[in-house]
């Protein structure tokens, strides 16, 4: 097998079970889209749970939403949208064989991802300190690092409507699972950056950059829905039927 892999017709990056670069490219993209469909179905369970509970407890969801930091949420949305732009531009420069540009755009994407996580850390920290925690932890102010109870700290939770803990359960699970996707994405981008620097990619073979960007755009897609659904709930006064 190894004798033929370096021939013109079958370059090193072309797996032996594919006839042509095009066939390998199409198969890889198809596989990635099937994975992304699975990701959407996976997240849809959380979004359906959100719909059910928001339908049941509209006041609690409005009150919980108003405890979130809108400027931070909006800033993170902008950062993530920008990272999608840089990911798309990384694919573009890789398609054109511009190796250094590709590294730059991948680096910018990773930087945006890190900024997103830092902002998320500060948001989580504020919620922990105010006792705005999921499920049975709700109402007990805690220090995020040591997870010790913060004695004497005022709990905002006690002034909020009943069932607001449900909103924060969904908030932490949904943004938490999203953040895990960001962390995984940083890992994959670092690997792709290493491969790009090593010279693995060319105008004939840029598939890994393309599929990684597809994954990254999906992480952006999920946040596009999470941001308004978590941060931007309008207050509905009790008894007021919109």
């Amino acid at each position: 097998m190894s004798a033929s892999t370096d021939s013109h017709d079958h370059p090193k990056w072309l797996q032996h079970h594919f006839d042509t670069p095009e066939q390998q490219f199409d198969a890889a993209k198809l596989g990635m889209w099937i994975f992304l469909a699975q990701e959407l179905l996976f997240f849809s369970g959380l979004f359906v749970a959100y719909a059910v509970f928001r339908n049941w407890y509209p006041e609690a969801f409005a009150a919980g939403s108003h405890e979130l930091n809108r400027p931070m949420g909006a800033a993170n949305t902008t950062v993530l949208l920008f990272s999608s732009l840089t990911a798309a531009l990384a694919v573009r420069s890789s398609q054109l064989g511009k190796k250094d540009e590709t590294s730059g755009w991948i680096g910018a994407t990773i930087l945006c991802a890190c900024i997103f996580l830092v902002v998320k850390y500060f948001e989580y920290h504020a919620k922990f300190e105010h006792g705005l925690l999921p499920g049975s932890f709700y109402g007990t102010p805690r220090d995020m690092l040591s997870f010790q109870k913060l004695e004497g700290h005022h709990s905002v939770a006690s002034e909020l409507p009943p069932h607001t803990h449900v909103f924060f359960s969904l908030y932490f699970v949904m943004t938490g699972v999203h953040a895990i996707h960001i962390i995984v994405g940083i890992g994959i981008w670092l690997w792709i950056l290493k491969r790009n620097l090593r010279g693995d990619f060319s105008t004939r073979y840029f598939t890994p950059v393309d599929t990684t960007a597809l994954y990254w755009h999906l992480v952006d897609l999920v946040w596009i829905y999470l941001f308004p659904m978590m941060y931007l709930i309008d207050y509905v006064p009790p008894g007021h039927k919109g």
Partner: protein
């Protein structure tokens, strides 16, 4: 379409545009396109933040989801290249969205109308948890406390 002039940039410039040469012929978007899409996404983000301050009542969620879906469509079509991709990849996305719709519709239909079932069928149904399924007694016999053991 053979007479259409090739005004699109393609990767792999070194070869003639022979679609059957087995090479990857991915469409290369322009900087202008990508940056325009980015600013459109920013515009819709600002729009959704602005509209959230308008009291729309129950339409708040619907409007937020519609704007988010416009943004999502921009990302899928432009950034994720569905516009120039094999159509089958779009079909996979549409299939996923369809089944999410079924999942959503059936679940919300159940959980939203539990008390309405109550009035129509005479069944006693707990609003939040649905502890008593439809079909239970309208006036259930109160459960007698177990008689104290007689000594």
């Amino acid at each position: 379409m053979a007479t259409t002039k090739h005004d699109h940039e393609h990767a792999h410039h070194g070869h003639a545009h022979d679609e059957d040469d087995g090479e990857v012929h991915a469409h290369v978007g322009t900087y202008k396109t990508y940056i325009t899409v980015f600013f459109a996404l920013l515009f819709f983000t600002a729009l959704t933040v602005g509209i959230s301050y308008v009291h729309l009542g129950r339409a708040n969620l619907a409007v937020a989801v519609i704007i988010a879906s416009i943004k999502a469509a921009l990302v899928c079509v432009m950034f994720m290249h569905l516009k120039d991709d094999k159509r089958f990849n779009s079909l996979i996305l549409v299939a996923a969205i369809t089944f999410i719709g079924v999942f959503f519709a059936l679940t919300v239909n159940d959980t939203s109308y539990r008390t309405k079932l109550d009035t129509q069928s005479g069944a006693r149904t707990d609003l939040r948890g649905g502890n008593d399924a439809p079909g239970s007694w309208e006036n259930p016999v109160p459960v007698e406390p177990a008689p104290a053991e007689h000594h």
